[in-house]
């Protein structure tokens, strides 16, 4: 029997094994809540982990070694047609065979929205299989209630060269004719439908005769001796079928055999959602990230549209979470702390959206795996490189970016990703500024970069090395001021960081996992103006290792250690403080500059232990403890916490109650504790955080979350006037500060569907501080009582997409020196400043307490329009993103004349359009 080209290539449709259906986060379609696979409480949309479709999120349940049967009522996708691939001519000529396993993303309509090669075969087989796979149409996967949902399956094409049939049909003789003359013929179909199975083997025993089904599933035996036979039908991915047939002499027998899919055919990695360990974990889906107006497609900027996040002052990329200071919130990249999350001016974040796999945001009551801050946590995850080559280029008014990723040639299993972005607004802004007679001649320059290589040593383990960093430089020409004649010339501010990170994760099965991340890094901050400059260079080592052990039904233990340490070098050229005989508010910039160099080491280890207890399928309680150490003041901080979730109604429409209480510590800043400026005995800031809330599903797309929170602050580090041992006035730090933050957050969210997504977020809060016992309370600097954000995006499915975001936020607090003349209580004749004749300057007399006046209400409309051209192998998008569409002059601060007899509002950003172009293959 010789193999000839006349036998067509065989394609075997292999649906994913029965068992757990993997869910996919697609760029256009969201993942649905996973059917529970253990006793955990499903989270629903508000708490779902989500992300990039190709990156399995961390902390996921293990893939089963032997897939189990699907939950009752759930049905898998069923192919409605068959698209045979073309056998690559060169491979045919060379007599090559191969198997290609595709990964197919199937949407809720049964369309194949994405096809990628999971197991390549090369030689043109991959491309042929991809082309055929994309043409398939499926009956979508469905839940028990019939709701369709998106799914990802494996699909195998086998390219084999089979023997020629021994008796070719006579010219003009069709297959139907052949069947009519055959003693035994029939069709092999998929069970439950009419989909034929090509390439199935039909064997007759005894006799040793066998035939292979054609593309239409037909087989035929000619001149088969009559008698009783055992017919064995086999096809890969299907359960074999054995049937007893009796063939009568001189009679033609036609049959139809239907095969059921078999289990264990191909392992499927389950990407279900791990139940949360925290009360509130807000996640922004991949489908939403790039479409939120006013953020220019920047995922991390979209955090500012979530409840609990206050609006930062204009051009400052700060995160103000639940009434806390910006430095009370820590940002991580895959568990490695980074100093900043936004570039200068808040124009974009330091990690571009394209390399993100997830953004986890915890506004408060976070679990014990995080510590050392009392505000919020932002933990972004980098995704692994894709297994096929992919690239993009994007350019807009502010910056340009490139990305390339794919398999590393010559290194099986290894993939790489290289991405970079640089702003170029400085290239054109300078001449524009000069043309408009501005005193400024420079503009910010920033760039960021990400390089990584990754490999999955086993299907359940992953290893990645990543190097990423960011740099921001801003220079401005500053003319001499009346009070500081030496502070003139170029003002420069720069900040940069780099991290080299190793990440290893292993799923041992049975709920046991190990997750390790370690990084070395460098942070640099530099400020300079005239003869004055300050530079801080920090080298750090950080790491985290967490082991998860499933102790039994409904009981999981998480244990981990983390650390942050290193050394910092401070180099400063600063003028000395005024000495006796010199007026205090004279031009300090003219004094003789002193150079200071100092270095200090720091070490901050931590350890935590946490249990996830699910006594039944509706309840989850997560108690934990954390211990931190700060070597600067030799202080240990013990932080117990507990969070809980309970499903009042588990099935749709789900109703979940949630709550938590915990103790949180934040170590004092270095300058507050280290000599000579600090007080070595000062302890950590402390807060007790309470939260309680409810999540409610209304429809499959619409859900709401309502949460109340209270943070009790004590032992807050405050500064007070004191004297040194020699009687010199100095600043002394203590832990006398207190305060509280109370508020509520409402999020009504319409989850992304084919056309629309959006949400309404409202936060009502109050943040108060006091500097000591018996001291009066005052509103905290970042208090914003009302924050309302309404946003939505509509996809017309014809390439056009339109989005809008509207925000109304309480004005920021300022410390006024001059009263508002429009106010009825303003005394225009008040003495606001005294003239200090010795130095020729005016000394302001504050009008009222610190941060005692609220600026006018902030409101702004942002719009976004996208259009995408999709080509065969690439797509091109263009967008227009307009911030402050109706050019509202929002007030960001106050400015005064030289003698504080008048004041004026300082307006923030005016209308800011940005046009971009993006190509992606």
């Amino acid at each position: 029997m010789t193999k000839t080209l006349s036998t067509s290539c065989l394609a075997l449709a292999l649906l994913a094994s029965s068992g757990v259906i993997s869910s996919v986060a697609h760029a256009q379609e969201p993942p649905e809540a996973q059917p529970p696979t253990d006793n955990s409480v499903p989270r629903g949309g508000a708490g779902a982990v989500i992300t990039h479709p190709d990156a399995p999120p961390p902390d996921k349940p293990p893939a089963p070694a032997a897939p189990t049967a699907p939950p009752a009522g759930f049905t898998m996708p069923k192919a409605l047609n068959y698209a045979p691939p073309i056998y690559p001519p060169e491979a045919e000529k060379a007599g090559l065979e191969g198997q290609v396993v595709l990964s197919l993303d199937i949407d809720k309509e049964g369309h194949v929205t994405k096809a990628s090669v999971a197991e390549p075969a090369g030689h043109g087989f991959d491309e042929s299989a991809l082309a055929a796979g994309r043409a398939l149409l499926f009956e979508p996967a469905r839940k028990a209630d019939g709701t369709p949902f998106a799914a990802r399956i494996k699909y195998r094409y086998s390219f084999t060269l089979t023997p020629v049939a021994p008796a070719p049909a006579a010219p003009g003789e069709s297959a139907a004719d052949k069947r009519a003359q055959s003693a035994f013929s029939g069709l092999v179909l998929v069970a439950g439908g009419t989909v034929p199975i090509a390439g199935a083997t039909v064997a007759l025993s005894p006799g040793g005769l066998s035939a292979t089904t054609e593309l239409d599933g037909a087989f035929a035996f000619k001149d088969v001796p009559s008698g009783k036979y055992t017919v064995l039908v086999r096809a890969p991915g299907y359960k074999p079928l054995s049937v007893e047939e009796t063939l009568a002499a001189g009679e033609a027998t036609e049959v139809k055999y239907r095969l059921s899919t078999s289990s264990g055919a191909l392992e499927v990695v389950v990407e279900g959602d791990r139940p949360p360990r925290e009360v509130t974990k807000r996640t922004i889906e991949a489908a939403e990230i790039a479409r939120i107006p006013g953020t220019n497609g920047d995922a991390l900027k979209s955090l500012q549209s979530l409840p609990g996040v206050a609006r930062p002052p204009a051009l400052l990329g700060l995160l103000i979470v639940r009434g806390s200071a910006p430095n009370d919130t820590q940002t991580f990249v895959d568990g490695t702390p980074v100093p900043i999350i936004y570039h200068f001016g808040g124009l974009s974040s330091v990690v571009p959206t394209e390399v993100l796999s997830k953004i986890d945001f915890y506004p408060g009551n976070f679990g014990t795996q995080y510590g050392r801050v009392q505000g919020g946590i932002v933990d972004v995850g980098l995704r692994d490189p894709k297994k096929e080559y992919h690239g993009l280029a994007q350019i807009d008014l502010i910056d340009a970016r490139l990305l390339l990723e794919g398999p590393i040639p010559g290194l099986a299993g290894w993939t790489f990703l290289a991405a970079g972005r640089r702003s170029y607004v400085d290239a054109w802004l300078g001449p524009v500024l000069s043309a408009t007679s501005s005193g400024t001649t420079e503009a910010p320059v920033y760039y960021d970069y990400q390089f990584m290589v990754a490999k999955k040593p086993t299907p359940k383990s992953s290893f990645r090395i990543a190097f990423f960093g960011s740099s921001d430089v801003f220079k401005i020409f500053a003319p001499a001021s009346a009070s500081q004649p030496e502070l003139a010339g170029q003002f420069a501010f720069s900040t940069a960081f780099q991290r080299l990170q190793l990440h290893y994760a292993n799923d041992f099965g049975d709920g046991n996992r190990l997750n390790v991340v370690a990084a070395v890094g460098r942070d640099e901050v530099g400020i300079g103006l005239g003869p004055i400059n300050f530079n801080l260079d920090t080298r750090s080592v950080s790491g985290r290792a967490e082991y998860t052990a499933k102790l039994g039904r409904g009981m999981t233990l998480n244990a981990g250690v983390d650390m942050y340490g290193g050394y910092a070098v401070v180099s400063a050229q600063l003028p000395p403080l005024p000495v006796p005989g010199q007026p205090p508010n004279g031009p300090f910039s003219t004094a003789n500059i002193t150079t200071t160099n100092s270095a200090l080491g720091f070490f901050q280890p931590g350890a935590y232990l946490e249990a996830e207890i699910a006594p039944d399928g509706n309840t989850r309680v997560v108690p934990g403890v954390r211990l931190d150490y700060f070597d600067a003041n030799k202080q240990y901080d013990f932080s117990p916490r507990v969070n809980a979730r309970h499903d009042l109604h588990k099935e749709f429409p789900r109703t979940t109650l949630k709550g938590g209480v915990g103790l949180y510590h934040q170590q004092p800043q270095f300058q507050q504790v280290l000599p000579p400026f600090g007080t070595p005995t000062v302890k950590s800031n402390r807060s007790i955080q309470y939260s309680v809330g409810v999540e409610q599903e209304f429809t499959h797309q619409l859900e709401a979350s309502l949460e109340g929170f209270y943070k009790q602050l004590d032992s807050q580090v405050t500064a007070a006037a004191g004297t040194t041992a020699s009687g010199v006035a100095t600043t002394v730090y203590n832990n006398n500060g207190t305060g509280y933050v109370v508020g509520g957050e409402l999020l009504i969210k319409y989850k992304p569907d084919r056309h629309f997504f959006g949400w309404i977020a409202y936060t009502l809060s109050r943040s108060v501080r006091s500097d000591g016992p018996g001291m009066p309370e005052y509103l905290f600097q970042y208090d914003q009582p009302h924050i309302l954000t309404v946003l939505g995006s509509y996809n017309f499915r014809n390439g056009w997409e339109f989005g809008a975001r509207y925000r109304i936020v309480s004005g920021s607090l300022v410390t006024p020196n001059v009263c508002d003349v429009t106010s009825s209580t303003c005394n225009a004749a008040r003495v606001n400043a005294l003239f200090n004749a010795a130095s020729g300057t005016y000394t302001a007399i504050p009008l009222s307490g610190p941060f005692s006046e609220r600026l006018p209400l902030f409101h702004e409309l942002d719009l976004r329009v996208d259009y995408t051209w999709k080509f065969k192998s690439w797509q091109l998008s263009t967008y227009l993103d307009v911030q402050n569409a109706y050019n509202q002059a929002n007030v960001e601060g106050l400015t005064y004349n030289f003698n504080y007899t008048a004041r004026s509002y300082v307006a923030g950003l005016p209308i800011l359009p940005s046009i971009g172009l993006r190509g992606e293959f």
Partner: protein, 350 residues
Amino acid sequence: MKRKSPLRRAVLASLVVAAFVGPAVGSGCGGAFPPVSQVSGLRVLAVVADKPYAQPGDTVTFTMTYANPVGAAAPQILWLGPCVNPPGGTYYGCYSQLASLMPGLGDTFSVTLPEDFLAPPITQGTAFVFFAACDGTVGALDGGASGGLAGSFPLGCFDANGQQLSADAFVPGYTQVYGFEDGRTNHNPAVTGLSINQVPTDAGVGDGGSVTPCPVPEASRLGVSGCGKADPFQQCQDDRAEYQITVDVPPGVAEVDDANKSPATGQPQYEVVWVDYFADQGDIDTPTALINAAEPVSDAGPALQSSFSTNWIAPPAPAGDAGALPVNIWAVVHDNRGGETVAHEILQVP
């Protein structure tokens, strides 16, 4: 200078602001306030003590230089002092004893420092003197609420009907003299006059000469940087209506401050000297200039800055038959130890 079309300027300006408003604000474009160098209304420009450093028993005489709109009556100038070594060494530490301080009226005020000014254990003393220039009558105010340690200044300015006048008619302030056990001294910087375009004006205050008016209307000017408005320094330069103003100081204007040695070398250093320029008409482009930095003492003497001039453009010509418009130019030279000297010239805009 080529004029740009309004549309192009508007588009470019929008791009500028759209891209980055922060530096534009920092550069002076954000606010619309007159610069500090522009004198309008009642202004106190300097209070010169004849002895910035003094000893117990010394009599120190303070002389105020002020400016008032042309034709306005001379203001009432009230003095209170000396407040010697107040708690905390701050001016507002004197508030509790203001009522008991010696008062004075007029342009000058003399105080005699008490013998306990430097009584042991005090080795460094500070004496504050308060002043208030008022276009009415100075009177006491209730302290009232204030948000800082400084409280509220307890004096105000009232008209004939007892109504409190605004800050344009009332300039309160303070100055101070220092005393040291080691008897160190400090002299006011030496100033010989002003030069216009490098030509010294006549000795004394008087007719400094006529200048060419700049035709750009006042309403079209906004400080020095254009910020979208006409830049008179560019437009009037060709019209020869821009003048270089320089305060004339001797090469040794900076004294040796041997009490405050250089932290880097441990050697004595020269005191810092700078100048503030003022004008009641026209525009000044650089209100402050450094004359001498804190450099180590050398045999060659202090190395003054290569330039501490400013440029000034005249106002438009006076309208109608108003006659020549007098313009006052002041230069107040400070050292960083409380010393100061005033130079004053009057120019004429025909």
